[in-house]
């Protein structure tokens, strides 16, 4: 059951680049990363590709496949049409380094603006806490994030409007949500969410949720509840009367 397929892969660096066509043999069960690595080994030895686990667990291999942000290692060829060349390009929202590799360091730098986890005092004398599974389920959904940054790549606030200073993007709102809804965290995080993290820029297009390989309901479960909390704090007349929010 062997056949060949054509891959149009973005080659180039900051000086410029272009799509280059490569043909390679494909076999049953193959994912895009298999094909790209085979091309790299046989035809393009110096091609820059970032991947680690090939199991959808590390979030390294994020690219745009036929224009859609996806993990190369979890995109099966059987789900794509091979009658047309399959286009593989780097994530376009971040600065390009070379070929399929982009500079995602902005995400790590921005993450440092989210204050550290700050637990309440331990519940038990031995220094441990008690939490019910039902209360941690919600946070565990957010903590599934593999930091692939596909959601950051697709979010128009970053991609089109380039508001990198004003907005931290869906991935980091998920991170915020994991802290705000963490049963043990005792920090006040809503002021940062409103100001430094710019949650107001999100207009709930849900593009981020659609690309998340971990199927985190970014908009419904993280961003909207956070927005509600911010609104409650800042625009609820009672809170304002008692000077709860600044």
């Amino acid at each position: 059951m062997t056949a060949t397929a054509t891959f149009s892969i973005w080659r180039g660096d900051l000086q410029g680049g272009k799509l280059v066509d490569y043909q390679t043999e494909i076999v049953q069960g193959m994912v895009v990363l298999d094909a790209v690595r085979r091309i790299q080994a046989d035809q393009a030895n110096d091609m820059a590709v970032r991947w680690n686990c090939k199991a959808g667990k590390c979030g390294s291999c994020a690219t745009e496949i036929n224009g859609k942000p996806r993990l190369m290692c979890m995109t099966r060829l059987s789900d794509l049409s091979t009658t047309q060349p399959i286009r593989v390009e780097p994530m376009r929202t971040f600065p390009h380094i070379r070929d399929l590799v982009t500079d995602v360091s902005w995400n790590f730098a921005k993450k440092r603006t989210v204050r550290k986890f700050n637990p309440r005092k331990p519940d038990a004398a031995d220094g441990t806490w008690r939490m019910a599974q039902i209360d941690v389920d919600r946070v565990q959904e957010f903590r599934k994030c593999i930091e692939c940054f596909l959601c950051q790549d697709v979010c128009h606030v970053l991609r089109n409007h380039q508001l990198f200073d004003e907005y931290i993007g869906p991935r980091l709102l998920v991170y915020d949500a994991a802290l705000v809804m963490h049963p043990l965290d005792s920090d006040q995080r809503l002021a940062d969410l409103r100001h430094a993290h710019g949650i107001g820029y999100c207009n709930i297009t849900k593009c981020c949720t659609n690309v998340c390989p971990e199927e985190i309901k970014i908009t419904d479960n993280a961003i909207i509840p956070l927005k509600e909390r911010v609104v409650d704090l800042y625009f609820d007349p009672l809170t304002r009367l008692f000077g709860g929010a600044r």
């Binding site: 030895n45 110096d46 199991a55 959808g56 590799v101 440092r112």
Partner: protein, 606 residues
């Protein structure tokens, strides 16, 4: 004169997996300046892939558990060639290290009364693995990463270290390149911690990520430090085997912990057919008793699927060899069957094994809540590594420490599942602590300019071959080596095959002198692969040489020419050293006598 930049730290940690990050946090907390280096981005190290859990005798689920039982289990699993001091420290300290993660924000699955939940795993007498579904490694690395970014340390991500630097006998730094631009950096440090992970990529079928090229083993050996027990390579019994593109991908032991059973083509639970003597007393006699164990009956003994990995892997090989395997050359692993036993089984499986559910659905079109999986052994873990002192994690060279998978000792001849993540925490912390102490008592050493220049020249040699327009492809050489190791130094070993492998490695080494790389130094994966190949050749040779010397079968090391355990070899470790001439020598070194208290614990737990 080669060009490079110099950076100074008190403690340099090479590796940002669980061991490296835990070590760095500890060192930074002691007020020294810390640099952390990794080949990939932060949070992507191999630790992120760990699935089943982290072993610690918290006794939240079974109050009969305590450090003594964990110690005895670890020694039994390792067939008593473990470093008993490390096994003791590990069992005693793991619970605190796990609880500490919770204080740093980790969110483990919970017991009904709100404490950290623990699950069953092979070779652990009681439910002992703290876990988060089947993505425990992600939880652990993210917690450490998020905590570490608030400590005083500098990260150098996508940097590759190519050599350690020495002044006399002491390690005083390391040299490497930044992958993005291909520029060289010299890191001067008072103490260096190796936390570079494993060597699974020496084999064709492996659960390891591309990073597992045994760099720490090779760096240490080349610098003159000793390695230990590298013949013990763990083949995990359950890797995916179909479709071919995912062969080797891990299927967590958690599947069996949750009640998954192994069957051959005839539907027989073949693990009942051969239960090793060391585990006879602890293993269920009937399928019914095995199931009771799975659901927490304290009077039941574990199902035979949960004996140690070495044994399960060999039983699978036997079924396949004798013609009772599955269509693609493995056996069946069935978790779907538990619907006969519990209501809502499908939901339960998806809650407990979400990544496995996804992995099979997305990559193999198979719904594990409905159908059995096809599985077979995959290269997984190195028990051996850099020889270290059990308390301080210092290697045989002053100033060089090692922790995590690249260090030897804790696991002996076979590692128990879950004992690696706890190893990273316990000994990562210790390495960080002792490296910081060492650094506080010393000053920076001198780095030899000529050594630096020579290292850079060697690292760049493939480009010169490239410019001449011919030479060997690093990808091709790597593939040939992996195939050879898989075939000749795999689960079942014998002298003449290993001698052939050594000969093959020698030939590949010669060919590797003309490795050829095209293009420039910017993020050039061909070049990176050429560097990896050098390390893989060194560790492959080390594995062969140690495996030849261990003329017996023990734990993960199985030889058909010596199928039994040898009493005299039960008392030794293999120690490897590379001489000035580049030859790797192996000596058998007696294991230090175990103190009476520890001996007594082992006796009591038999």
């Amino acid at each position: 004169m080669a060009q490079y930049e110099t950076i100074q730290h008190d403690v340099l940690v090479i590796g940002a997996g669980g061991a490296g990050l835990r070590g760095a946090i500890e060192a930074a907390g002691r007020g020294v300046s810390v640099g952390v280096i990794s080949k990939s981005l932060l949070g992507k190290a191999h630790t992120v892939m760990a699935e089943g859990g982290v072993a610690a005798a918290l006794s939240n689920v079974d109050d009969r558990d305590n450090w003594k039982v964990h110690f005895a289990d670890t020694m039994r699993g390792g067939q008593y060639v473990n470093n008993w001091r490390m096994a003791e420290l590990h069992a005693k300290e793991a619970p605190d290290r796990v609880r500490e993660l919770e204080a740093w924000g980790a969110v483990f699955d919970r017991t009904p009364d709100g404490r950290i939940l623990q699950r069953n795993f092979g070779g652990h007498r009681y439910a002992r693995l703290a876990h988060v579904g089947d993505r425990t490694g992600l939880e652990m690395i993210r917690t450490l990463q998020d905590h570490a970014t608030f400590e005083r340390m500098s990260f150098y991500t996508e940097f590759t270290i190519v050599s350690l630097l020495k002044e006399g006998n002491r390690v005083v730094g390391a040299i490497g390149y930044q992958r993005e631009k291909g520029l060289f950096f010299v890191f001067q440090a008072k103490a260096v911690v190796l936390a570079t992970g494993g060597l699974g990529r020496a084999y064709k079928i492996t659960s390891n990520s591309w990073e597992g090229t045994g760099d720490g083993f090779a760096l240490a050996l080349d610098a003159g430090a000793e390695l230990r027990d590298v013949e013990f390579v763990q083949f995990h019994p359950t890797g995916m085997i179909w479709p071919p593109s995912v062969a080797g991908l891990l299927v967590t032991e958690g599947v069996r912990g949750e009640g998954g059973v192994l069957r051959n083509r005839l539907g027989r639970r073949f693990m009942f057919d051969d239960i090793p003597a060391l585990y006879k007393n602890q293993t269920a006699d009937t399928e019914e008793e095995g199931w009771r164990y799975t659901v927490g009956d304290k009077n039941a003994r574990r199902p035979p699927e949960l004996v140690t990995r070495d044994h399960v892997a060999r039983c699978i090989m036997r079924e396949v060899r004798e013609g009772r395997g599955s269509p693609h050359g493995g056996v069946f692993l069935d978790i779907a069957w538990i619907k006969e036993k519990i209501p809502n089984a499908e939901k339960h499986i998806r809650a407990k094994l979400p990544s496995m559910y996804d992995q099979f659905l997305k990559l193999a079109d198979l719904d594990i809540t409905k159908e059995p999986m096809e599985v077979g052994p995959t290269t997984h873990y190195s028990m051996g590594g850099v020889r270290v002192d059990g308390d301080s994690q210092m290697s045989s060279l002053p100033g060089l420490f090692a922790a995590g998978e690249c260090a030897a000792g804790l696991h002996g001849a076979n590692r128990l599942g879950g004992n690696s993540l706890s190893d990273l925490l316990v000994f990562g912390k210790r390495a960080g602590e002792y490296a910081a102490r060492f650094a506080l008592e010393t000053s920076l050493g001198r780095v030899s300019e000529s050594a630096v220049n020579e290292n850079i020249r060697q690292a760049l040699a493939p480009f010169e071959n490239g410019a001449k327009g011919r030479g060997e492809s690093p990808y091709q050489l790597q593939a040939e080596l992996q195939e050879m190791m898989q075939e000749l130094v795999g689960i079942v070993r014998t002298e003449n095959e290993m001698v052939r492998a050594l000969d093959g490695i020698q030939k590949l080494k010669e060919r590797s002198r003309s490795l050829h790389v095209e293009g420039n130094r910017m993020y050039n994966v061909g070049w990176h692969t050429a560097v990896d190949v050098g390390n893989l050749l060194t560790v492959s040779e080390a594995i062969c040489r140690a495996a030849l010397e261990r003329r017996e079968s023990r734990g993960a090391h199985y030889r058909i020419d010596y199928p039994d355990k040898s009493e005299s070899l039960a008392k030794v470790n293999t120690t490897l050293h590379k001489g000035e001439d580049g030859a790797i020598s192996v000596r058998l070194e007696p294991i230090k006598e175990m103190p009476a208290e520890l001996k007594q614990i082992i006796e009591e737990m038999k």
